[in-house]
């Protein structure tokens, strides 16, 4: 589903959010600090800080519906990955370097739109929970007339 070019983009170190919903169709969302594309692009693992996962974990466990949105300043390339929840576990210590490196690259990107790194230094990065999703659909979300098209 996710080809190599898109996988490289998703793992580049960009802005990522995860969206969920509850039984009342009330939307919910949290910050993701890194992702890893797995199994030839059929699955994706989202690393969510422990204090953030509390917000969306009940939704994921209850109905499994999830959406990940990605955006990269300064060119504003953006896409959305729809998925179905498979499982979540405390992220392994071996993943810490991978997660922190991806987050750092994102922070460095933020400087291109004028945000000093120091403003985000207190945000949680680690420990994380690894949320594994099966990818069901991909959409282009780069702003413009073609936003929303299936990838």
């Amino acid at each position: 589903m996710i080809d190599n070019e898109l996988a490289a983009f998703l793992e580049e170190g960009i802005g990522i959010q995860i969206g969920t919903r509850n039984a009342s169709l009330e939307p919910n969302g949290a910050r993701v600090v890194a992702v890893r594309v797995e199994d030839n692009g059929t699955h994706i693992v989202a690393f969510v800080p422990e204090r953030a996962i509390k917000v969306v974990a009940p939704d994921l466990e209850a109905n499994g519906q999830a959406a990940l949105v990605f955006a990269r300043p300064p060119d504003e390339r953006s896409c959305q990955v729809k998925g179905v929840f498979e499982r979540m576990d405390a992220a392994a210590g071996a993943d810490e370097r991978f997660v922190r490196d991806q987050w750092r690259r994102w922070l460095e990107r933020l400087t291109t739109i004028g945000l000093p790194l120091s403003t985000l230094e207190r945000w949680d990065v680690w420990p994380c929970v690894a949320v594994r999703l099966r990818v069901t659909a991909l959409f282009n979300q780069t702003p413009g007339p073609n936003a929303g098209a299936v990838l």
Binding site: L25, E26, R31, P73, G114, L115, R122
Partner: protein
């Protein structure tokens, strides 16, 4: 931890992209980044609707939404639980958002393509702090640079005092810009006035830029100045760099879709301003000019200052218009009462067309070629653009008279009576145009000077020999 929307002003500046979460009727969540979330009142926000997309369709099916915002001062993350109320396609909220978007679109050549379709109004049901996105300690200096009110009564009074001391249009314009810096801390500002060409505005005074920029033009509907002139309302843009990048992303996509964007226009002053404020200078519905203030701070100008900004614009407009009228009337009276400074009677219209002459070159004096392009109505000095339109016609007329007759002094009155200049009979703004011409010469060709010689008269001084050339 809970907080009212009023205290979250910095979150609504569009500096950090917000995230919008919605859900379709069949239970599929959707996540998207947003260019801007606007504050409406203590219980409502507005989201810009620019493109039909999944979020919009979801809201039509299920009005619940969540927005995640970041405070750019403290980095605190916030969760706003929302319920869609209505879409507005007119009214103050829509106008404010639409003008800002159109100004940005025009910089990107996307006016009419990148536009606001509606301002979607949402009720805020709850505001929660994101635990994983904690605030940093904010220094007093940092906080005060961002949220301190700038339009204080004291600052307004200081500006007023400066304005009252000005005794000429030139001093008045400079005093306004000096006062904006001294009293309000606005270091980069410019005033544009209307030209004889409808829909064109020209910079008459500027402050805080490496080059004076006098003579730089803006057209109706282009950029923040053109949009202010068109809408006759103030426009405030924060986080301009990010929003420009967003617009350029749209432009790229539009180009890929075969939609041709018009030519991009340059930003007015600073190479990379991060916030801009445009103020219409209106007197009884007449647009006297536009004041544009820029800053490298991401959000230097605040929405809550809007009323003061409009008031300030009206006050400055009245001061400028009064001075224009005063200069005109005193110029005419001075000439009538004081006789002519020239060898020609001031009341005699200049209606003959003396041939252009090349003065004899004098040893040690540089020679400059001034070329008048009649079709374009512009003058080039040694091949470089100097000025166009009415000020160009005036300069050309003066140069021809000077070289043909040896006259150095002229009166405003004789220019007014000169039919070849085709000045408007009513509100010709001649003094403003002469000031523009004088400043433009100072900036681009200091060898040629227009020097005031009292009310209503001036001298054209040449520090070089001039060769006058007319081209079609």
């Amino acid at each position: 931890m809970k907080l009212g929307l009023e205290a979250m002003a910095s979150c609504f500046q569009g500096l950090i992209p917000a995230a919008l979460f919605t859900c379709s009727k069949d239970g599929t969540p959707n996540a998207a980044f947003l260019s801007h979330v606007d504050y409406v009142d203590s219980t409502h926000v507005a989201l810009s609707f620019q493109f039909f997309n999944k979020s919009k369709r979801n809201i039509a099916e299920n009005p619940q939404a969540l927005v995640r915002l970041i405070d750019p001062d403290t980095s605190q993350g916030w969760r706003l639980k929302l319920r869609y109320v209505r879409s507005e396609t007119e009214g103050p909220v829509f106008e404010r958002m639409a003008l800002r978007i159109e100004a940005i679109a025009s910089y990107s050549g996307l006016k009419g393509i990148f536009k606001l379709l509606a301002a979607d109004i949402y009720e805020v049901l709850a505001v929660e702090a994101a635990e994983d996105e904690a605030a940093i300690e904010v220094t007093t200096q940092r906080r005060s640079a961002c949220v301190d009110p700038v339009f204080t009564m004291q600052a307004l009074q200081d500006l007023s005092t400066r304005i009252h001391r000005a005794d000429s249009l030139e001093r008045l314009l400079d005093s306004i810009l000096e006062g904006l810096e001294a009293s309000f801390g606005f270091e980069h500002s410019m005033i544009l006035v209307s030209t004889i060409e409808e829909g064109t505005y020209v910079t008459i005074a500027s402050r805080g830029y490496p080059e004076m920029g006098v003579g730089a033009e803006a057209r109706l509907g282009e950029g923040i100045i053109g949009m202010v002139a068109e809408a006759r309302k103030p426009i405030r843009i924060s986080g301009l760099i990010r929003q420009m990048l967003y617009a350029l992303a749209v432009q790229k996509r539009a180009h890929e879709q075969g939609i041709v964007a018009s030519q991009r226009i340059p930003l007015p002053g600073l190479a990379q301003p991060d916030s801009q404020l445009g103020i219409p200078l209106l007197v009884r519905g007449e647009l006297v000019g536009v004041l544009c203030i820029e800053s490298t701070h991401p959000y230097r100008f605040h929405e809550e200052d809007k009323t003061t900004i409009e008031l300030l614009g009206s006050y400055l407009a009245i001061a400028i218009q009064n001075m224009q009228l005063q200069e005109r009337s005193t110029a005419d009276v001075a000439v009538e009462g004081g006789g002519s400074a020239s060898r020609n009677p001031p009341y005699v219209a200049i209606d003959s067309e003396p041939p252009a002459q090349k003065p004899a070159a004098k040893a040690g004096k540089a020679e400059r070629e001034l070329a008048y392009y009649a079709g374009e109505e512009c003058i080039l000095v040694d091949g470089e653009y100097l000025i166009r339109s009415m000020p160009a016609r005036i300069l050309w007329r003066l140069l021809r008279r000077r070289t043909a007759e040896g006259r150095a002094e002229f009166t405003n009155r004789e220019l007014r009576l000169d039919k070849s200049l085709n000045l408007p009979e009513w509100k010709d703004n001649l003094e403003t145009r002469l000031l523009l011409l004088r400043r433009r010469l100072d900036q681009k060709c200091p060898d040629i000077r227009i020097v005031p010689r009292g009310r209503g008269r001036f001298a054209l001084e040449l520090g070089c020999d001039v060769a006058l050339v007319e081209r079609p």
